[in-house]
């Protein structure tokens, strides 16, 4: 009680209150870039234990916070000034929202009295960010700051996680007020979790047992809720093959006999085939995105869908389902595991379906045609997998390399693969890898990149070098915007427009100019050495791997078609 009174009485500036409140939330690092409207908050870094990690562009700060948040499952924090600083982080906020990543974005704002006057570096970031945040706050008095921070972190990390924006006018940062740091608060309209329905879980088991061709589709929600052990237990107990969405890649060990890998536009052939043949699917934490399911209509008539999700608004949004299990997916799966134990259900004999699944998997392992050259994408990514320890964390950029990573880099330890899957933000992977490495400095972190995407945020090399964050950038360099080029080859009769990168820049020299290690790998032998050198390097490393610009990502399910209509390598 006495302590509480002291808390209430303490007077401080809004800026100090913000930093103090963040320290109370356990924040150790902030990614950001200062400017006029957030200087009072920056001044506080000189007086507190939070480490500031300087970026060269605010967009990168937001991706770093995102990468940090996905890996640590605690909100990553990024700082930007008002106006252009704030608009620069919008892409990062939208990316986090599309992939349900916890993030706190703190922007400076012009003083309260200047808001709405089109002041210098004023932008209505609250209005602009509204559709891409989970929630946004703009405290108008310093005294509101502690509760805003507390609520912000709670909203960002609970239920279906997401980005929260805190826009702080400069005078709110500067002015003093007596501060109360509340332990408790109320948000009346926010119910992040619903208790899972046991009867629905029971029904789900029944539906799976009563079907002939059951399958599990694990989405990103499985990874967000860390339901790895529960998922594996159910798959093994019921002998269910497991496919994932791309976001769900690595929710289940990809070297497991029951694993078929991701479905989707560039899903594994065996995963797409089996998904298309299944008669009952346990879909966990997925929104049935168009990239994952193509058009489900072709087989949904005989496909019974059990949809498990923490967000009730996802039920029936993209896909009509036969049974909904609303609640945290890990809790729901735990209930299922318990019920299976109680009922002593355990499948040991291979069903006809299971044999068929196994044979299909073996067939595609043998028969998927790969690029014949020494430096084909599959060989490069399998080499990376072979050399990297299994606990290594992967981020990716967006494009062909990303889909090759999905096809050929097997995630063995669940929850070690992250990508911008929803918004598809080129330039995400490298800064996200820096955030990931800050969260997990003990493991190698590799950004699987293409030259096009890496170009977008390559100046984060300065951050990696100056802040001693030794990540590895693995550039599959075809000097082309490869995925666009592939669509132009496939759908536009090879009319190649706006895709040639002209061999510019030289990524080895670029890396070196920042003080990073740059290595070019032109053979498997060189690649092997380069990866090993990068893992043991104390500075960030860019491995530049020239590849054939004509190599396509296959299989390919064309947009608007069914998973059973794959374009395969000829």
């Amino acid at each position: 009680m006495e302590k509480n009174l002291i808390n209430i009485m303490e007077s401080m500036t809004g800026a100090k209150a913000l930093m103090t409140a963040m320290e109370k939330e356990g924040v150790k690092e902030v990614f950001g870039l200062p400017g006029g409207a957030n200087l009072p908050m920056y001044d506080e870094f000189s007086r507190c234990d939070i480490r500031h990690i300087l970026v060269r562009h605010e967009q990168s700060a937001s991706h770093m916070a995102d990468g940090f948040g996905r890996v640590s499952r605690k909100p990553g924090v990024c700082f930007a000034t008002s106006g252009p600083g704030a608009t620069n982080i919008l892409t990062g906020i939208a990316t986090a929202q599309a992939d349900s990543a916890p993030m706190i974005a703190v922007t400076g704002q012009v003083p309260v009295a200047m808001i709405g006057k089109d002041a210098f570096q004023e932008s209505d970031i609250i209005g602009m960010a509204n559709p891409v945040v989970k929630y946004a706050f703009q405290p108008r008095t310093p005294g509101e700051v502690p509760e805003v921070v507390k609520k912000g972190f709670y909203i960002a990390e609970t239920g279906r996680p997401g980005p929260v924006l805190i826009d702080v006018p400069k005078d709110v940062q500067q002015n003093e007020a007596p501060m109360n740091f509340p332990d408790e608060f109320k948000i009346q309209g926010y119910h992040p979790w619903t208790d899972p329905d046991i009867i629905a879980c029971e029904k789900a088991i029944e539906m799976l047992l009563n079907s002939e061709k059951p399958i599990i589709l694990a989405g990103g929600g499985t990874i967000i809720s860390s339901a790895f052990a529960e998922l594996q237990s159910i798959a093994e107990t019921l002998m269910l093959p497991v496919v994932t969405t791309f976001k769900g890649k690595g929710a289940f060990p990809e070297n497991h006999p029951l694993s078929l890998g991701p479905i989707g536009m560039h899903g594994h052939a065996e995963a797409n085939k089996m998904m298309a043949e299944a008669d009952c699917v346990l879909a966990i934490g997925t929104r049935f995105s168009d990239r994952s399911v193509g058009t489900f209509e072709a087989f949904e008539k005989r496909l019974k869908i059990i949809h498990m999700d923490v967000d009730p608004a996802e039920i029936g949004k993209n896909q009509t389902t036969n049974l909904a299990v609303v609640g945290d997916v890990r809790t729901s799966l735990r209930i299922m595991v318990k019920l299976l134990l109680q009922k002593q259900i355990k499948k040991t004999e291979e069903s006809v379906w299971f044999k068929h699944v196994r044979e299909t998997k073996e067939y595609w392992k043998e028969n998927l045609k790969l690029h014949p050259g020494e430096m084909g994408a599959a060989k490069i990514l399998r080499k990376l997998r072979e050399v990297l320890p299994k606990e290594s964390i992967i981020t990716t950029e967006v494009g062909q390399h990303q889909m090759w990573a999905s096809l050929f880099y097997d995630v063995i330890q669940p929850g070690t693969f992250f990508s911008s899957t929803g918004l598809g933000t080129m330039g995400w992977g490298f800064p996200a890898s820096i955030g990931a490495k800050v969260a997990r400095p003990d493991v190698p972190v590799v950004d699987i990149a293409g030259d096009g995407s890496f170009s977008m945020t390559e100046n984060s090399l300065a951050t990696a070098v100056l802040e001693d964050i030794p990540v590895i950038v693995f550039v599959l360099n075809n000097s082309t915007l490869g995925m666009v080029a592939q669509w132009q080859r496939t759908f536009y009769d090879r009319r190649m427009v706006g895709v040639d990168q002209g061999g510019c820049p030289d990524y080895v020299k670029l890396a070196e100019s920042y003080g990073a290690q740059g290595i070019r790998a032109q053979s498997m032998d060189e690649l092997d050495k380069a990866i090993k050198s990068a893992i043991s390097s104390e500075v960030a490393t860019v491995i530049d791997i020239p590849i054939d610009p004509e190599e396509d990502v296959l299989p390919f399910v064309a947009p608007g078609t069914s998973l059973s209509d794959m374009i395969l390598p000829s």
């Binding site: 509204n130 559709p131 009346q188 309209g189 009730p312 608004a313 039920i315 949004k317 009509t320």
Partner: protein, 160 residues
């Protein structure tokens, strides 16, 4: 189908913006919207009418419910709800009898007459959108100069 949604929200700046933005960004339609503070000044009630098939309306309700600033979202059954809209018509008066005729018509719809001038008259009707539509059809021959409507407001009947 036509749906009446009753949305209890926190009474603070920016909430109306977020609600209307949600309709726009999710590709839903707002047919009418009326907003007013409740007996508890912490809350406002928005009554929104919208068109969509059952699935769309269900999605609208879920997306509204997901919003942190909404406290309660109800899809009201119109048979168990009192719903009304206030509408003001400004009508032309061309003939000597018109004033009397408009008065009769207004009475038939429980309306009130205001601002009687030589060549125009205003009628205030509070009724259901169907009844207002019916009045409008009958008023057309006089010549409608202007119309202003509040949008529907509604409360569920007790025990419903």
């Amino acid at each position: 189908m036509w749906a009446i949604l009753s949305v209890l929200v926190e009474n603070k700046p920016g909430v109306l913006f977020k609600i209307t933005h949600l309709f726009r960004s999710r590709n839903f339609n707002i047919d009418s919207i009326s907003v007013g503070i409740t007996d508890n000044p912490d809350y406002s009630r928005m009554t929104i009418t919208s068109y969509g098939d059952e699935k769309q309306i269900e999605q609208i309700v879920k997306q509204l419910d997901k919003m942190i600033d909404t406290v309660e979202v109800k899809h009201l059954d119109e048979h168990k709800t009192v719903f009304r809209e206030l509408c003001i018509f400004k009508l032309k008066l061309s003939n000597a009898n018109d004033s009397m005729e408009v008065n009769k018509l207004a009475n038939a719809y429980g309306g009130k007459v205001h601002d009687v001038k030589k060549d125009s008259i205003m009628v205030e009707i509070t009724s259901t959108p169907d009844q207002i539509k019916a009045f409008e059809e009958l008023a057309k021959p006089f010549g409608i100069i202007d119309v202003a409507r509040t949008g529907v407001t509604a409360l569920q009947r007790s025990g419903a």
